[in-house]
Symmetry: D2
Subunit: 336 residues, 4 copies
């Protein structure tokens, strides 16, 4: 097994998360990092003298020994970087969503297909033990034929308005994980979407044409009924649950709690809140997704979730946005 030589493009919160995870992997060398905005990387990198900070990410692409790039920059830059990296023959791990523009996404897809490089999209939740075990239970026929699939997905606190403006909207920024999860758990595509949503947490969000609370109703190709319950603010913590209901039973995923202790007094019985946010909740999932990505690269296996998974989630997000505007159910475009 050859060593994977890696460049990380974008070293913000999520880029650093991947850096910390993969820096100690056997058979992985982070040779470069690039970040257009960072000024303090020297401090962050002080224990890693062999990691080179570059001022232009093309330097990374020009190093023939680099076989993997991580794309962790703002979404608007993804497609350009993907295209250049694919053209340079690099295998790509890209954060979600691929882009905000369908044209850009398709151009990037074509470049990746043409270059025949590995591409994995950062739908980290697929690698969470709970969700994997739930999917396995369904594949093992523990619940029979799927009838209803409900996802609860609420963030602990809303992003600021500046973030919201650049986020691509709640469906592209937040629900896109849930759209992918619907597809992952059901092993089915989505055909139609209806959104019942509003700006209830922060009315100012309505002013930037977005919402913060939504109940999304979905019709799946396999005839099952889906729902996604989103809020930008669950004050008790990151609420990440799921229930798959079928003709032989149901499986549900509960939240991971901050600890497993319980205090009872004369007032009530108290247990811990859910883990606060995605860094805690999906800590292990973030590790597993990159472990499996490197395995796929090293052994020339299929990556999963792949580029098409990224496109399909984006198409559902597009239909959801249309439904919010029209007030009616909207058809999801099919791609294959």
């Amino acid at each position: 097994m050859n060593k994977n030589i890696v460049g990380i493009i974008g070293l913000g919160r999520i880029g650093k998360l991947h850096f910390d995870n993969i820096i100690n992997y056997q058979g992985v060398e982070i040779r470069y990092v690039f970040d257009a905005f960072a000024t303090d990387l020297n401090d962050y990198l002080k224990d890693y003298p062999n990691v080179k900070v570059v001022k232009d990410y093309e330097e990374i692409l020009n190093d023939k020994e680099v076989n993997v790039v991580f794309v962790c920059t703002p979404t608007t830059t993804h497609s350009e970087i993907i295209i250049k990296a694919a053209n340079a023959g690099k295998n790509i791990f890209c954060e979600k969503p691929i882009s905000f523009s369908e044209e850009e996404t398709l151009s990037a897809y074509e470049a990746v297909e043409k270059a025949n490089v590995k591409f994995q999209i950062g739908f980290n939740r697929r690698f969470d033990k709970n969700f994997m075990d739930a999917k396995k239970a369904i594949l093992d026929n523990k619940i029979g034929e799927l009838h209803i699939l409900n996802i609860t997905s609420r963030d602990p606190e809303p992003p600021n308005l500046d973030y919201v403006k650049k986020s691509g909207g709640i469906f592209m920024d937040m629900s896109i994980h849930d759209f992918d999860m619907i597809r992952f758990i059901s092993s089915s595509d989505v055909e139609e979407v209806y959104v019942n949503g509003a700006a209830l947490v922060n009315p100012d969000i309505a002013k930037v044409d977005d919402i913060d609370t939504a109940l999304i109703s979905l019709k799946l190709k396999n005839k099952a009924i889906g729902s996604i319950d989103n809020s930008r603010q669950a004050v008790y913590g990151y609420d990440q649950r799921l229930e798959a209901f079928g003709n032989l039973g149901k499986v549900n995923v509960k939240n991971n709690l901050q600890d497993n202790i319980c205090i009872a007094n004369s007032d009530s019985v108290m247990s811990a809140k859910p883990q606060w946010f995605f860094l805690e909740r999906y800590k292990e999932a973030y590790i597993l997704e990159t472990k499996l990505f490197f395995e796929a690269v090293s052994n020339n296996k299929e990556t999963c979730p792949n580029f098409l998974d990224g496109i399909k989630a984006q198409k559902i997000a597009k239909a959801a946005k249309a439904s919010l505007i029209s007030g009616k159910p909207e058809i999801v475009e099919n791609v294959d």
Copy 2:
């Protein structure tokens, strides 16, 4: 406090349930029962020699001492009985739904209003300790402003097709309880409904123009978002849960289980299933609803839920049916 002299019209499953509950109430005398179909009432009544079985329910209405009637007959006969009972000055406890026809419902409403008698509709779930405590928590501002209200309401086993044909459809027969629960918990009316539903449990149900699985999305007058998750068949038992989510927290109602024991072995950890069906789950609620009804009658207080609550739930059911047919969200008619 004068004695309440009662006639029960309709002594099927639900009529007998009320009979058994109220027969031992202090201050209540069941003087008459009527059932158009029953042939075996003598055996059922053998320990109650003072209860008279009549062949025509008008006999009951003609007894001036009778001040209360229970209407537990098939829904198609409700309006006629209500009108006659109201005209005879009787206070009325009527099972849900009031009728399948809006005209009949309104005629009955006018008769009750004109006669100025008490009227309570059998939305028994309002009297369940869990749901009452959840509503109290909301009124006590434990969750702040309501943003999302999700109801899970699944029967353990589907009725037979003959029942389904006469049932008025899933919305009028089954979801109507949930429509009332949405109004009860949210203290708000419903403005718009969208149904995502299908016959997934039993395809034959589609042939009689009905469905058995639904995800109902609701827009509430108070701006909150609602959902109702219905299935005619949850093989693990009667699934009656609720989650109310707001800007300060959430409250959720879990199922009552058949017992509170837990068995762990080398395969898994097993706990009890939910109580099997409504007779077990709402046993105490059925008692409380009639206790409070008699209290209202005896003390000339308002009944709750009243006739308007019955009408409003029916209007939501009508809009749900329209949405299922149109495939679009439908406006709920307002009444006041």
Copy 3:
């Protein structure tokens, strides 16, 4: 089936509980009540004009039609009443414990044996659905051979000192239920007892030679190890749990809660406390124990728990008291 004609001797809290439960049973007539201390029975009995209050309980015993007496008086009077009732040929339901004196207990036992009347002791917890289901799981071999049996049994609030003085001590008054539960769940007798206890809730209890907190370690005849964890004061409510552990798994009984709702906010996640005390927790068990008692009487079947069960629990309590004094494990006397 002949009617059971009943006299209740002692109409305090527990006597009234039985009165309320059995008054509406089919085939049961409460003809007499007696209470040496009550002055207000007329008000309590106002809806039951056919129930006669007597000033001397022997009046009850002299009525040849009376076939059942309930003994709900203070413990010190039990044996005398039992003996007279047995001599009069009455079947007896007696509250626990049988007496504080071994001689009295044995005299009463002989009288009951000689008269060949039915006798049931009020170990109500045997009739709780949770404990019955746990015992059934063990008999169904769900946990294999029993190795450890732990009982948690804590009252919500301590009795006053006057009660404590007359109570016979914590083992005879409170733990006796747990001694019986150990025998019931394990289907085994107890051979040795060691008590680790103190007056931690209220030091004044030590002054009347009693304790309020105990960890009782038991050696069972079937080689299993038992423990009982007692406290007179669990501020969060009546704590009634059990865990039976064996070579194939374990079964545990959890508390019944006041409701099944859960509130989450930015501080914590709160669920309900256990039901407050024995009247709520064992409401259904109190009904079932008397239903089965009357069934045994009417059909001439064995009662359970019977007199010997009462004696055996008392013998364990005696050994526990001895252990508390000696500071060492003590042998339990065997009776059969």
Copy 4:
């Protein structure tokens, strides 16, 4: 902060666990490993060319730059190694128990005291988030004054007889963790111990003078009552729970489960079993204990748990063994 130069003495299961944890710590260099029995270390160490395998652990002690040794050899060798390491001025992290012999333990203690080096004993459970949070709740007065402290501690499967023979007996090998946990949670010493135990899992264990099932009753210096429930075989997995009960409430630690999903079908409702054994259950605790050990060494702070904590747990184990033999409660020797 100077670099810590480490030698690991003993590279069996637990030695490798520490190796894997600390190898990537910033500021820590593992320079040597020693194992008297290992033959395959080259393969294990193939990615760590800078780690030197030595044939005699004194080589490690002779390297003046080494400031820390981990003692992970069989217990019988601990005291000798500790003494030599202390004499060489090394800071010591030592696995539990310190030794099986009181004399050896005291000699080692004197050497450590005289050399004034840091010493931490591997009571890893003190670093588990659940137990730390439970202790914090008690210190924050959430339960008031401690009255009862119950520990459940059951291994998933029994060791083989060969292991048992060399283990020092269940109290020294297994319960010693619980003795320390009693002290940690209660912030109190133990004064008296009574053991109710037997070989129920495997009767052959009795032949080597040991037991596999025990209910240990403890009297604490702070007047609280303690219990430890041990079994060598809980077929459903590693059972590690605790309940601390006081005059203002209780706190309990539940098991960590293998996942947080739940499957319901027509038979039952199933959730995951506890994490299988200590490697999973205490994975994070093993990391934290060594992180904090290195922090203490680097910053010249007190280690915790220290040598005295190791001695005190050993004294309780000795009294427990005496109690098992005498069949009576036994006093624990006090040391300070």
